[in-house]
């Protein structure tokens, strides 16, 4: 099933929640423990852990193993993938049009050389 294997769908689903976006924004400033993350939210630590798990599954956050309190860190790669795709509609089309331009030239050259061998 596409939606399951589709990393970007996971990314978007993870980002759909305002608390998780706030957690990411906080982590963009540096790693933090669950206690630190829970502080601004008036939310229980298990609730924050649950959000962290969703973010971890989407690959947006990784947890350190080196210490008992396992600080959470932001992983930027999936975000960049998502941002890259939707990030610049204009640039997407500009590059696609450049490729189409070159491809059309190829196509026509091929057609012409086909005509040449036939006649």
């Amino acid at each position: 099933m596409v939606m399951v294997s589709d990393g970007l769908s996971l990314t978007f689903a993870a980002l759909a929640d305002p608390t998780r976006r706030a957690i990411l924004a906080r982590l963009a400033g540096g790693e933090a423990t669950v206690t630190e993350l829970a502080a601004p939210f008036e939310m229980s630590m298990p609730a924050v852990s649950k959000h962290l798990k969703v973010l971890e599954r989407a690959g947006l956050v990784e947890r350190g193993r080196e210490a008992q309190w396992r600080p959470a860190r932001l992983r930027a790669a999936p975000l960049q993938g998502a941002a890259e795709w939707i990030g610049n509609y204009r640039r997407f089309w500009e590059e696609s049009f450049d490729r189409l331009d070159a491809y059309l030239e190829d196509l026509q050259n091929r057609e012409q050389s086909d005509d040449g061998t036939e006649s």
């Binding site: 941002a83 640039r91 049009f97």
Partner: protein, 323 residues
């Protein structure tokens, strides 16, 4: 309505008929692009004036009440000072100004330019109204105002032909118009746009692999594309063909499967153009927030859509990684 004096102007039409000069021309370019050619300082100085004229801009500020102070240099070396005060600036429909020589003196005439959609192109009507018939006749006789106006719009046409070769214009806060000229007949360009074996070869950026390309090319049919990003994530999107006529045009929806409810509508027109095909592709997003979400990776704050939130997070990331 933004044009409060219109009915008054219409009532005065008959008395104006003998003291005006009207010039019309149709251009193969989207209306917003033609309008911008009149109002973008980087464009207007390039084509303004009859054949052989060049323009030096001293000051330009195109908005209601703004001014454009410029000198037109004639082919014989004569300099003509111009002082324009803009009245209405209504993109992409209408532009009016009072045209004089120097600041502080009464204007010599008033000009109105209207931009009307004409097929995929744009019809421009440039109307200049003089205070008296005598003033109008003098300018027509002594300065060749009609030929000069025709030549000016001819030069605008040449400028636009160069611009449409590759352009992207924000048509509104939720609309993007792309134009591109391809050196191939339009049947071929149309097929390259719609046949999977062709689409796979060019759609997307060079770092993205197209792993699914399904096309059911008929009104009511759907298409589905999946691109694989360099990191391996797959991105699925597609839409429905609403209307199409080979090789003239296609209207379809376009949406990301991960973001239902944010479909845009794309209209692609394929036009014969000197030596090739002019593609005019207009994308209309549901909301301005949707467009910003697609169009920019940063800048949007306080919007409710997920895309805007994503943009915000990414912008923060960029700041952190730059620091």
């Amino acid at each position: 309505m933004t044009v409060p004096n219109r009915s008054a102007a219409a009532a005065a039409d008959e008395s104006v008929a003998d003291r005006e000069v009207v010039i019309t021309r149709t251009f193969s370019a989207p209306r917003e692009l033609v309008f911008d050619a009149f109002t973008d300082p980087s464009h207007v100085g390039q084509w303004w004036g009859p054949d052989g004229f060049t323009t030096t801009t001293e000051r330009i500020d195109i908005r209601p009440g703004g001014t454009w102070t410029h000198v037109m240099h004639g082919p014989d070396g004569t300099d003509y000072p111009n002082f324009i005060v803009y009245d209405e600036v209504v993109r992409p429909e209408r532009l009016t100004w009072a045209h004089g020589t120097v600041e502080g003196e009464p204007p010599a005439f008033h000009s109105t330019v209207t931009f009307e959609v004409d097929g995929v192109g744009t019809r421009v009507t440039l109307r200049s109204v003089f205070p008296t018939k005598a003033a109008r006749d003098f300018v027509v006789r002594e300065h060749g105002a009609i030929e000069g106006g025709e030549q000016t719009l001819q030069r605008l046409g040449e400028r636009l032909a160069a611009v449409v070769r590759r352009s992207f214009t924000d048509a509104s806060d939720r609309e993007l118009v792309a134009t591109r000229v391809f050196a191939a007949p339009r049947e071929l360009v149309f097929d390259a746009f719609t046949r999977p074996e062709h689409v796979r070869e060019w759609y997307g950026c060079s770092t993205q692999d197209m792993v699914v390309c399904e096309v059911d090319l008929r009104p009511g049919g759907r298409f589905r594309y999946v691109l694989r990003m360099p990191e391996g994530e797959e991105f699925a999107f597609g839409g429905e063909y609403l209307e199409l006529v080979r090789p003239e045009f296609i209207v379809n929806t376009l949406g990301m499967e991960a973001m239902p409810g944010h479909e845009a509508v794309e209209r692609s027109d394929f036009l014969d153009s000197a030596g090739g095909t002019l593609l005019v592709m207009r994308t209309t997003f549901r909301t301005a927030a949707d467009y910003r979400g697609w169009a920019e990776s940063g800048g949007a704050t306080g919007m409710e859509s997920t895309l805007d939130r994503l943009a915000e997070v990414v912008q923060r990331l960029a700041v952190v990684s730059a620091a």
